[in-house]
């Protein structure tokens, strides 16, 4: 079985968010990590490899430094890594990104494609289903469990108040939730091997059946009109009362002032 996992290098927004003195995001100070949902997708693929001897290829689209994240995936146990990078691919929205990745995936044999549900920088959850659409594959989003049954993939698909057990004929695309599993660590041997392992680099010319008009910033139907740091509602009052009684008197006083009680 051949599995391709799409991963993305993202700034770590969880906990370690850093700001410049002017209030803008300090991306340089933030760690670049493998996107958590993608990492769970990779772990799911590696478990299938452990179980059935699958071949696992990881692919990313990004700047050359995204190769670091591919090496991390190799050190975890992926067999092959492909970096899709080209100046003309920059500034892509989800349409152009999914078009690019679909163009790369057309060169690869696969039974199953796994993507993360969403990346923690964009939070769109769009690229996975859009890749499936471009490739004419069945898509199962929001996977919290994934099994293989012959030539079918069986997934627990999460909804707000329920889950469906869904079966799709492979080849298929599944988007993984971080809740799917606890990803393994890189092994020392794996890290050692990954340093020497080849990361295959593809550019625009390697994309199959893709029109230039659908790539990069120019090929993106959505355009940014304005981007800014979030203006937060200002802080109100803050008190540090000496006792619980004083704290309660403060709240009760405020509630009466506001006619809440």
């Amino acid at each position: 079985m051949k599995i391709v996992v799409c991963i993305k290098q993202v700034p770590d927004t969880k906990g370690g968010v850093k700001f410049n003195p002017d209030g803008t995001l300090d991306r340089g100070a933030m760690l670049a990590i493998m996107n958590p949902d993608d990492k769970a997708g990779l772990e799911a693929a590696l478990r299938l490899k452990d179980q059935y001897g699958a071949e696992v290829t990881v692919i990313t689209m990004g700047l050359p430094k995204a190769a670091d994240t591919l090496r991390e995936a190799l050190a975890m146990g992926a067999d092959k890594a492909i970096l899709v990078t080209d100046r003309v691919l920059g500034g892509a929205d989800t349409w152009a990104t999914s078009t690019t990745l679909a163009g790369a995936l057309r060169n690869i044999d696969y039974d199953l494609i796994i993507t993360g549900r969403q990346a923690i920088d964009g939070d769109t959850a769009q690229v996975g289903p859009q890749i499936a659409e471009h490739l004419g594959l069945p898509v199962i989003s929001y996977a919290q469990d994934l099994k293989i049954d012959g030539d079918k993939v069986v997934v627990q698909r999460m909804y707000d108040d329920r889950y469906h057990v869904v079966e799709a004929q492979m080849p298929a695309l599944v988007t993984a939730l971080a809740e799917l599993n606890a990803p393994r660590y890189m092994t020392p041997g794996g890290i050692f091997d990954a340093c020497d392992a080849e990361v295959i680099t593809w550019g625009r010319a390697d994309l199959k059946d893709v029109d230039d008009s659908n790539l990069g910033l120019k090929g993106s139907p959505t355009k940014i009109a304005k981007a800014s740091d979030k203006v937060r509602k200002g802080a109100g009052e803050k008190v540090a009362p000496d006792s619980a009684e004083e704290a309660v008197a403060y709240v009760i006083g405020k509630f009466k002032e506001k006619h809440i009680i």
């Binding site: 700034p11 920088d121 929001y142 981007a227 802080a235 008190v239 009680i261």
Partner: protein, 351 residues
């Protein structure tokens, strides 16, 4: 990207999500917003209702602002699956050519939206929190056409650290998924009758049709925190599942509901449906108590629209104090039970 003939595309369309033949709250919220956008554009709001034996839901959509309802009723659409639904909605778009297509950013809409937008080859903006009609570019740029009456879609990114306003100037429909709990429903027009247009594009199962083997519903008797007027929300600082009792007591005396932060769900103290924040639910109650919640940006993104925020935290530097109307630095274990007792006494005095 191939651009389509924009002039042909008219009207504001809303995907009227239903589950188990019940209209989801987000559908009514989108109709409320859709009506406002349609008024600016001097056009109509159309609800797209997809399901099986769902025709009797159409009048409710009319009560909440739908001028028309396009009904796709077919056995294939009984339970949500990406493919028959994507085929249904994409076919409606190709047939009726809406200017704007809104979908809820739910576990259904965030699957349906991207599939449909890729199929009809247009842009999609995810998880919007503000929708307006305006110009693109916002300010005229010499040598570049400024388009009017564009849908301007504002959304948070980077875990709520930044916001971006996005337009889709050259492709139609302009598509957005919209966060539940953010837009306002209108007061229902009692007795409104829907103008229903039946449309069935025909369904031929192919490789993209998945099989649902089982449906497992979560057993939950809790109130939906998105509907609560008063929320008493606890974080890691509460310390244990057992200690949530003091929050429940406070909620009870206020007639409120308990909710929580992600850390609490991750610790297994409370179920996920009570989680407020970026990966949980967006809430805007009249009063939000943030108790033992540090106020990570992902949490704040889900509650900062609350009318009144009261924070109790022992750490005076906790970021929750930056959004709280009333911040109290102190020990929640002492303050919360004392507050409950005082509110009880106030209540008793009034009776």
């Amino acid at each position: 990207m191939v651009t389509n003939n924009i002039e042909e595309y008219k009207g504001v369309y809303v995907f009227a999500q239903q589950v188990d033949n019940e209209i989801s709250g987000i559908a009514l919220e989108l109709l409320g917003k859709g009506k406002e956008l349609a008024a600016k554009l001097e056009t109509e709001v159309t609800a797209v209702l997809i399901g099986y034996k769902v025709a009797d839901l159409a009048d409710k959509l009319a009560e909440y602002g739908a001028d028309k309802v396009i009904l796709v009723d077919d056995p294939e659409c009984e339970v949500y699956r990406t493919e028959p639904y994507a085929h249904a909605l994409a076919s409606v778009i190709n047939e009726f050519k809406p200017d704007i297509m809104l979908v809820g950013a739910t576990a259904i809409g965030r699957d349906l939206g991207p599939t449909v937008s890729a199929r009809v080859a247009t842009g999609l903006t995810a998880d919007c929190t503000v929708l307006e009609i305006g110009d693109f570019p916002l300010v005229a740029i010499p040598g570049q056409e400024q388009k009017h009456n564009q849908l301007l879609m504002t959304r948070p990114a980077f875990g709520g650290n930044t916001i971006a306003t996005i337009a889709c100037p050259d492709n139609r429909p302009q598509m957005a998924t919209v966060r539940p709990g953010v837009m306002q429903k209108i007061d229902p027009i009692v007795g409104a009758k829907a103008n229903v247009i039946e449309f069935n594009p025909g369904f031929t199962p192919n490789n993209k049709y998945v099989t649902i083997k089982e449906v497992v519903k979560a057993v939950s008797d809790t109130v939906d925190i998105m509907d609560a007027k008063i929320l008493v929300s606890g974080g890691r600082g509460v310390g244990s599942a057992e200690n949530f009792k003091i929050l429940e007591d406070l909620a009870e005396v206020l007639g409120g509901t308990v909710s929580c932060s992600r850390a609490v769900v991750d610790s297994g103290w409370k179920p996920r449906d009570l989680q407020v924040g970026q990966t949980g639910k967006t809430v805007r109650p009249q009063i939000y108590f943030a108790i033992g919640i540090s106020g990570a940006i992902q949490h704040v993104a889900g509650m900062e629209e609350s009318d009144l925020i009261v924070a109790i935290n022992k750490d005076e530097d906790a970021p929750i104090f930056d959004v709280a109307d009333y911040g109290i630095v102190g020990d929640l274990n002492k303050i919360v039970p004392a507050l409950t007792a005082a509110l009880k006494a106030e209540k008793a005095n009034k009776q």
